[in-house]
Amino acid sequence: MSTLETEIQNRVSNSPTISATARPVAKRKHLERWVATIALLLICIGFALPFVWMLSTSLKTLDKTMEVPPHFWPSPMVPGNYWKVINHPKLDFPLLARNTLIIAVLSVLGTVISSSLVAYGFAKVRFKGSGVLFVMMLATMMIPFPVMMVSLFSIFRWLGDHTPVQFLGTLRPLWLPTWFGSAFNIFLLRQFFMTIPDELSEAALMDGCSEWGIFQRIILPLSKPALSVVALFTFMGAWNDFLGPLVYIQHPQQYTLALGLQTFQSQHGGTEWNLLMAASVLVILPVIILFFLAQKTFIQGIATTGLKG
């Protein structure tokens, strides 16, 4: 907008006929900006307040959370709540974190490897029928999870009964499907691979490089930004997932953070709010850290999914 403004200024100084309309425009711009700033400040206070309140509660003693009206500043401040949560016998935090991390890491690996392979097939290998397959794949994105939830459950049960590998009662149903590509990520990567000029792979083909070699040595290294978007979203998805663990996980030994936190809350009737808030902060923290480490990837990823979809 600053270029626009200088342009307006130029026109104002150059032509006396336009100045009559341009000056109020500049003034209006100024007012617009002030109104926006005040609105944004108020809205941001509203958006940030829940976070602040969560932190404040997580540092209070139990009595202080029961005060009416509540005090904003926790006094005495008890950072020990966090330690208490981590060591709480009813909320085996290290175990929950370990389970969640196992699922998240295996899902990220599976999704990145399988989805990039399939995306390469759709983007760079010209073969009859690829168009039909691709449309079919896009169509599967519309199917809501509940439609498949019941039958997936019985499929995993059947597989457990008829193969030596157990599925229900393990973490496998939560990460194994990710090793077979996910439609959304294949789509995302395929769109990115399409932007890589074919001349590159053709030249490599001339030099005797195999299709696999092109994928591995040319396409993958050039696609790091897209691959990190996929990795990031998959990690977030696994970290956030609630319905999946709720359906497939049966023993507390396999609980994820999401499931463990919910169970802890429902068993305690939601009375120890300071501990609950401390636990929530601990669940949120990795995600927030990840955001600040990979801010660009996040924003670009969301932006492209919205615009290319």
Binding site: L40, R126, G181, G309
Partner: protein, 313 residues
């Protein structure tokens, strides 16, 4: 077909094989099975037994099914358009060049990253009738006066009064609106998509409209919104699919209560499948859900011809 064509097909299928297998095992078979289960009596303990359309028939007379469906549609009607408008409004505000723009964008985006369970915990605490922050704020004098004013108007037209402190999650009248209100906290994701779309609105158009004397509202209505309509359409489709499946937040925060006021479609489906072990009944519900989503999406697509403007490229 020539040999090279066959070779290409082989190569292509080889690269696509992970998805092909996954599609068969984790999508196609489950979908077909679920269609089959929906016409079966299936309790998981015994093999499914064919009963024809009995599940669908039973659903028609099931008052809880009807309640869960109306709740879901009601929630969608409240949360969906408001959510789209709130996020669009925020995106427009965040697009105005002001000092500290990045900071504001970050603050509004961050809540959308909060894991579902954590935001459910947090909002249960905020909504707590006696100790919660929201009722504490509403107890301040200006808000007390505001509520008194609203009550006076409500009294004039003989509507029930607002009783304070408001039992956000314990009063059947408030629970559903409370959940819808809470959903606005997580609109950051949609805001980012709108913001990206706003960058593509050609500034020449806005500038020339401005020089021609078009004010802020007219520029918004005649330039920005038409140019943004494909993005609005995308967000609308995403919101339809997401909102109709709402599950985790109400499951954790209210368990469907009070008095089933927040008992949504997917929750009843889940309960049928894994609590009452009525897998066939649940599958029939899932198919109805799929059909509703498809129908609404189709309507959205059909209407899009009238209001979505695709820039000729």
């Amino acid at each position: 077909m020539t040999r090279t064509e066959w070779k290409q097909i082989g190569k292509g299928l080889a690269f696509c094989s992970p998805w092909l297998i996954g599609f068969m095992v984790f999508t196609l078979i489950p979908v077909v099975l679920s269609l089959y289960y929906s016409v079966c009596d299936y309790s998981l303990l015994q093999p499914p037994a064919y009963i024809g359309g009995a599940n669908y028939h039973e659903l028609l007379d099931d008052p809880i099914f009807r309640k869960s469906l109306t709740n879901t549609l009601l929630y969608a009607i409240i949360a969906l358009p408001a959510g789209l408008m709130v996020s669009l409004g925020l995106a427009l505000l965040l697009n105005v060049k002001v000092a500290g723009q990045t900071f504001y964008r970050t603050v509004i985006f961050l809540p959308s990253l909060v894991p579902t369970v954590a935001s459910a915990m947090l909002w249960m605490w905020l909504f707590n009738a006696k100790l919660g922050l929201i009722n504490t704020v509403l107890d301040w004098l200006p808000f007390r006066l505001l509520i008194a004013g609203i009550n006076a108007i409500l009294g004039l037209v003989h509507l029930p009064q607002i009783e304070t402190p408001i039992g956000w999650l314990t009063n059947p009248a408030w629970a559903l609106p409370a959940l819808a209100f809470m959903s606005f906290w997580g609109v950051g994701h949609t805001v980012v998509i709108y913001l990206a779309g706003l960058q593509d609105v050609p500034s020449e158009l806005l500038e020339s409209a401005e020089i021609d004397g078009a004010g802020m509202t007219r520029r918004l209505w005649h330039v920005t919104l038409p140019m943004l309509s494909p993005v609005i359409f995308f967000n609308l489709i995403m919101a339809i699919i997401g909102t109709l499946q709402v599950f985790a937040i109400p499951y954790i925060m209210t368990g469907g209560g009070p008095a089933r006021a927040t008992y949504f479609f997917t929750m009843y489906l889940y309960d049928n499948a894994f609590r009452y072990l009525k897998m066939g009944y649940a599958s029939a519900m899932a198919w109805i859900q799929l059909l509703i989503i498809l129908a609404l999406t189709a309507i959205a697509f059909w209407s899009s011809r009238k209001w979505v403007y695709y820039q000729g490229k």
